[in-house]
Symmetry: C2
Subunit: 338 residues, 2 copies
DNA sequence: CTGAAAGCGCTAACAC
DNA sequence: GTGTTAGCGCTTTCAG
């Protein structure tokens, strides 16, 4: 029998049934200590009986907190951000929070409007892998003016006074490049990322490692790309150079995977003639044509730590000082740099 | 200067400033027609000036709608579900809705509690790629009793009277298998999925196609797996069989990719000695060791259509009849079945 | 066209 | 321990 939709049970209903005040029931629901054992028992029984579920909208309005946080990422399809989202959920769920995930499509205007929507929904805090221009600050100021705590992820911004959690990008660049040097490569090219802190930092690490080893590289050895398709194109440009690079460090795994495709298509052997390394350790890296060496950046940990920090600053009354947490990268050598 | 957190502007503030009633301002905000042009102008000006943003929690409580929908998926890391999430967001955002995404971790109890949380948050509707046992119905009954519209995605359940949007799984199985037959394969093995409708349907399609072609297959040619790791293991079992299969149809791309890894490791040529096909057309399929032939199931379209249907039943006062939408699969032939 | 009255379901603060 | 008084910020309904 399709039972007709029932109106949800309210505190009021339970209170009436039991001849107690709404307040008492509310206290029991929230687990306040100051309720008589006998009363509490009756209330609890009735709650279970009626399967009472608090209305969180009403609760949020009255308590002035929603126990919701917003997470904004540039692209959920990128497994790095999906993994962060997962880490965030896992970290906050047990604490009674829910997360609203938004896609900015790597567009700063979209992101800006997403932030406004989330603020209008009164989220208690925000996690932001921001698509703002590096020097922008108006969005951050808007959030700060509202007094809503937020934590930056993956990308840092000088215009924000918020805490940050992300990989140590310079260390990633150094680690990858040093690995290639140790493998005997000397003509090491780099597929650099967009002009955001991860791309910039990794490139700096790359250059530092080369300098430290006394290796000079022509400017043409650094090209740009963002994903597998552009990585493929970028690699084709590198392959046309004289002398041809003997190694390519892709700023993330998709660009490196795209590069591998171009290299193999050109009939060049990996790792025999060219070694390749990426960063991110995306899940499919070891299913690729040649299993891809990479730098793991513990995405889940990034999500969890960021969530932890956010919840802490939500809970603490007084504003806490901004912290920067850099997660140590780990080399994952595979066939592509053997 | 770090400006101190300001209290958000309320309707009341604007009304006071302009000497009109709160009601009038509220009407302007919502775009009601019955407000004088002059009044509306003043209100609008002040709204912009103060950058007024409606408080959605209060609005939701009063209006008894939140304009939020919940989306529950078994695993955001699986790009199929990430893509669905993206399609859903894209479809509902322009309509003024937001989506709360939850991970059930493929666990029915977790899912059940997620649903309860979302209902407690008064979501206007639910999108469910459910991890319930095939014969279960209690969760669906709970949702139905509440009168909250919901749409099933990817997996169908006899115990639910909700609409469904997903790929045509039997067609996927037939398409893949027929393709292998056309390529000259006769000993076609199958890595079947878990006992949910996608796995079951694809297997049925596989068997139907074989029967139609008059091909008999030993039971041992059907093994089970869920992801790349178990697909790898499953393929190793298949490779030990006598006679060895000359083709493998993986119920999804990860299992097929895992199978390819096992096959290549065994020194067997793809597609020369064994052809492989998957389903899902995940983004990295053509970056694999051998570009993977697959069946595309238009994940984004699934998300969009499901969202559309949900919004429609939210908007329409009277309950609409359940519909089943099957998205036509498309063959994407690549190197692995050349 | 405008506004007053009456909540939505819950909680904070303080009496009893 | 228990209950009362006042809202949270907005919308609904309906009278002017």
């Amino acid at each position: 029998m399709p039972n007709a939709p029932t109106t949800p049970v309210r505190l009021k209903d339970i209170a009436r049934d039991l001849n107690v005040s709404v307040m008492t029931v509310s206290k029991v629901v929230r687990g306040c200590a100051d309720v008589g054992a006998e009363t509490r028992g009756r209330v609890l029984a009735r709650i279970k009986e009626l399967n009472y579920q608090p209305n969180w909208v009403a609760r949020s309005l009255a308590a002035r907190r929603t126990f919701m946080i917003g997470l904004i990422v540039p692209d959920l399809m990128h497994s790095f951000f999906a993994e962060i989202a997962k880490g965030v959920s896992a970290a906050i769920r047990p604490l009674g929070y829910d997360v609203v995930i938004c896609n900015s499509e790597e567009d700063s205007a979209v992101e800006s409007s997403e932030v406004d929507r989330l603020l209008a929904r009164q989220v208690d805090g925000l996690l932001l892998a921001s698509a703002q221009a590096p020097s922008s600050h108006s969005l951050f100021e808007r959030i700060e003016a509202r007094g809503v705590p937020y934590v930056l992820i993956d990308r840092r911004f000088a215009g924000s006074r918020a805490s940050y959690v992300g990989a140590d990008d310079e260390a990633i660049g150094r680690l990858a490049t040093r690995h290639l040097i140790e493998r005997g490569c000397r003509r090491i090219a780099h597929i650099a990322g967009p002009p955001l802190t991860p791309g910039v930092g990794r490139r700096k690490g790359y250059q530092d490692a080369l300098s430290a080893a006394g290796i000079a590289i022509p400017d043409s050895y650094v090209v740009h790309a963002t994903d597998d398709a552009s990585g493929y194109l970028a690699a084709r440009r590198l392959l046309a150079l004289e002398p041809r690079p003997d190694a390519i460090f892709g700023y993330n795994d998709p660009t490196a995977a795209g590069a591998m495709k171009a290299i193999l298509e050109a009939g060049i052997a990996i790792p025999g003639e060219i070694k390749v390394i990426g960063a991110g350790n995306v899940h499919y890296s070891d299913l690729l044509r040649v299993p891809l060496s990479t730098i793991d950046q513990s995405s889940t940990a990034i999500g969890q730590q960021a969530a932890d920090m956010l919840i802490k600053s939500i809970s603490s009354k007084r504003k806490r000082p901004a912290r920067t947490v850099l997660i140590d990268p780990i080399l994952v050598p595979r066939e592509s740099t053997r």
